[in-house]
Symmetry: C2
Subunit: 427 residues, 2 copies
């Protein structure tokens, strides 16, 4: 049985116990939320995780790190390093988005080097194998897609992105309205290329029952992807995007009824004033399924700083109810991230998630800040380093400049506000 | 006459013409907003600026760069460099917060190397001179404070932070309620130290008329500072903060009536869900005076990444109506910023301001994004570099990895979504 089926039957699984314990909540209420499809525990039942996590209602907002090779850069060692960096920087999950080199070997290596949930986008492997075996994405068969999904499930993948809402209808809507950046999702682009060339409906939509069958067998959580997510502020919250979201909501219901866990993916490039509405729409159209957002990126003009544009959007989204943030690195729109960029992306996204958690009142979120502020007030630098989201960086930066008065810093030096006020008010 | 007095008389000044032109708005309506105290043009009338800027209603959200020496690090050359970096990175204004070395010489050097509005916090120089001349901040006299303000105005300063709302009443309120981090504003700390030791009211409050007299003579814009801004999430939006804000609103009215331009400064450490309310409160309690915010920093736990915590808060504040963002650098809470940190602080804050401008509908804000997205769709990298908020960085990062297919990037390489879709939909 899947976590969802156990929950519906009123049975608390060991995974639910672990998650409830980590979150400091009641296992019973967690189980009820899973039963309603409001929360998921992505955990391949044939490869049980040591560290399962919960994503959804009232839980700490989780952070995903996207790693993986590309057709230009494919080195298994680099991906192992990125998996280790992701773990150290505090990513809750990893998605392996490899499209270059030996994809299966890379996936297995990442799996071995990360003990949290692992996600993939199987259409990548299916499309690339079709290119290699038959000379083009357009020659991909539905069987190939489902074979790849099954293979990835066998390898221990816990959740998969499937762009089942990229339908002919949504595509028509996109073409009718017109867009500045059309389609920027790689999975969405693969599927549309195939659909247009074959004049056939998306197999991940048409054969959704096959998808459910495999998902159920492994308790593979379906992350229903947004192939039509806007790739520019100008395209945000348009008819194609909402058309796809509505379909995802319908598919979510079908999957849940079959006992399959579901998350919904969301945009993309969205201006600040539309972020809250996007979260609301997802919750309404998809029956409060966990919302997994990429960014949102709130302005298009900052390549090189997209960990910041997306931290802004991610924080606002988390505050409004998004449950799971996919990181964006400084190299988004530029190239495959380096190790340092992977780290920066994770830290920026963790900041966004945590700031959102304080604001939406996730249990205990503010305690971390309180401890840090107490350490600041005491000018206790050891404690500040220990509590910092990136202790290594704080330690290194602090050692760079030595203040004359050793417990102050070089910003205010001997005119430290905290010290002055402590003396003025306490003596 | 001051800009405000001209505006009240219905006279459009050359500065108003320049600002209206830069903003692409009507000079008449700008003048009306200045007359109401909704917008300011900080411009010392004895040293007219080549590039005056407007701060306030319907205008592009502006960005300030804080530079200046400390008691630990005081090197005039370093400050000249930071002034030049601030200009290149796109700061609209600079505040010289020097507290070390020859403060006046540093101020003059910064003035010579930056052609936009320059701000200061005169209480710093007054306090430090009192320490040097008399052995302590507590021996500072009201005359010293006003002498320094006059001297700084003579040197061409355009706006000054004065913590006139740090009153005995507000201090009582702070002590009664209790705080985790008490007072973190350096100016606030200097004044409270003096007030407690002398059991006297804040001279910047008690002798506000003297302040107005000098401000009027030079058309020095008063930036009424928040000496009691919260220094931790736990202290946000408390009674001391709001008590001070109310006083600032009252003083704003007094100053405006005398023809003196006023901005109001705001927090500080504020969780996301309180940012909008803080902007609303400022607008209501201070009759829609321009709101100049530091951050807000939305979580305390990320020293080393406070350009991100504050970009989140700044973007939300700008979107809600804040007019002017003071940058926060990655070294906030750690030490005096390096050149690279000054640059990062400015870029992060410009991103926040711009994202806010798109969301609040500042005229033409979205056009920049539209141009960038069109260049992205065309895979026109030269244009993307030209349009990027940091062209140097994008150029450098792009040259780091060479994709096999030259107009793609190493993220998707030959599986570039934009290229695939262009082929699928256009042929």
């Amino acid at each position: 049985m899947t976590q969802l089926e156990y929950a519906i039957k009123g049975k608390i699984t060991p995974q639910m116990e672990l998650v409830a314990d980590e979150e400091g909540i009641d296992a019973e209420s967690l189980m009820e939320d899973i039963a309603k499809g409001w929360t998921v525990i992505p955990c391949n039942k044939k490869h049980p995780l040591k560290h399962p996590i919960g994503i959804g209602k009232s839980l700490r907002t989780k952070v995903n790190s996207n790693i993986g090779s590309s057709s230009d850069i494919y080195d298994i060692q680099k991906e192992i390093e990125k998996a280790r960096i992701s773990k150290k920087a505090g990513a809750d999950t990893i998605m392996d988005l490899s499209t270059g080199g030996n994809i299966r070997e890379i996936r297995k290596a990442i799996r071995e080097n990360f003990d949290g949930p692992l996600g993939t986008v199987p259409i990548y492997e299916a499309a690339i194998e079709s290119v290699k075996e038959k000379g083009g994405i357009i020659f991909m068969t539905p069987e190939k897609i489902f074979d790849v999904i099954k293979r990835q499930a066998e390898d221990g993948v816990d959740f998969i992105t499937v762009h089942s809402g990229v339908t002919m209808d949504a595509l028509k809507s996109l073409q009718l309205e017109g867009r500045v950046t059309d389609i920027v999702s790689r999975g969405g682009a693969f599927l549309v290329t195939w659909m247009v060339a074959n004049t056939k409906e998306n197999p991940l939509y048409e054969h959704f029952d096959k998808l459910i069958e495999i998902a159920k067998e492994y308790d593979l959580t379906l992350s229903l992807g947004d192939g039509f997510r806007p790739g520019s502020i100008a395209d945000s919250t348009d008819r194609a995007q909402i058309c796809e979201l509505k379909t995802l909501g319908e598919l979510k219901e079908v999957a849940n009824k079959a006992g399959v866990q579901v998350m919904i993916e969301g945009p993309g490039h969205i201006p600040i004033n539309e972020v809250e509405a996007n979260v609301l729409l997802e919750k309404k159209l998809c029956d409060d399924a966990p919302f997994y957002v990429l960014g949102p990126i709130v302005t298009d003009i900052a390549p090189g700083y997209d960990e910041i544009t997306s931290a802004i959007g991610g924080a606002i989204a988390a505050c409004a109810g998004a449950d799971f943030l996919c990181y964006v690195t400084p190299s988004e729109h530029i190239g495959l991230p380096t190790n340092e960029e992977v780290k920066r992306g994770i830290i920026a996204t963790r900041i966004a998630a945590h700031a959102g958690d304080i604001a939406k009142g996730v249990r205990g979120a503010g305690l971390w800040d309180l401890e840090m502020s107490k350490a600041r007030k005491k000018l206790d630098w050891e404690k500040q380093i220990e509590l910092a989201i990136d202790p290594d960086l704080l330690k290194k930066r602090r050692s760079l400049q030595k203040p004359e008065v050793s417990d102050t810093c070089t910003m205010c030096g001997k005119y430290c506000a905290i010290k002055l006020v402590e003396e003025a008010l306490r003596k």
